[in-house]
Symmetry: C2
Subunit: 127 residues, 2 copies
């Protein structure tokens, strides 16, 4: 059960995911240390959040290790992509391009990054 969860990660869940993406697979203790530094919550809360996230399939854990080791179920990229699609749907009714342009226009990009975008464009036109 608890398989195809369609809903986005919530605020705190995302906060925890970010920590996991940074730290890599970690025991609760390490995750908590970070989370607590960011928002001062209790150890119990961290444990609970992780268990909720486990139910939802947002994280996985290795229970053979003595302090259980948690790791994100999705990469940062996959999550970002998914949330972006959701944002585009909600605000622009699916017109992704509008948002890409928006994002580009409001970003201070380095020449390197701009070149990267160009390369990507070439690739897309090549298809």
């Amino acid at each position: 059960m608890a398989k195809s969860r369609a809903s986005q990660p919530t605020e705190v869940e995302l906060q925890i995911l970010r920590i996991l993406w940074e730290l890599g697979p970690s025991p609760v203790r390490n995750i908590h240390t970070r989370l607590n530094a960011e928002k001062g919550t209790n150890y119990s809360t961290t444990v609970k959040m992780l268990s909720v996230m486990l139910d939802k399939g947002l994280v996985k854990r290795d229970e053979t290790a003595s302090p259980h080791i948690y790791r994100p179920a999705m990469t940062r990229e996959a999550t970002g992509k998914r949330m972006l699609r959701d944002l585009v749907d909600k605000v622009y009714d699916g017109a992704a391009m509008s948002l890409v342009l928006q994002a580009l226009a409001s970003t201070k990009a380095t020449p390197d990054e701009l070149a990267e975008v160009r390369r990507l464009l070439d690739e897309m036109e090549g298809q």
Copy 2:
């Protein structure tokens, strides 16, 4: 000091904003007709949501008009930009470019749109 730390619009709030962006300034009745068509909720609910949104500063209203007229407090673009920034912060810790590239790469764009992106790039490099 009106707009202090305004949180992001929630799901339904956004749905209403989207309707307002499309319809332009409207009385509750029109907003409700649309919202009801989308999710079958009650008229009371629409009124309540609008009052909550008024409190939060997400919409404004003209109370001199007989059926009060509501309008969005922010443009679609400003809201999209803001939410995007938030998403970038939450997922990528502020590295906007990663997400732009992501978005671009995962979008099926028409040649016209790609040309538009190119034009924007030229502009950015021109500066």
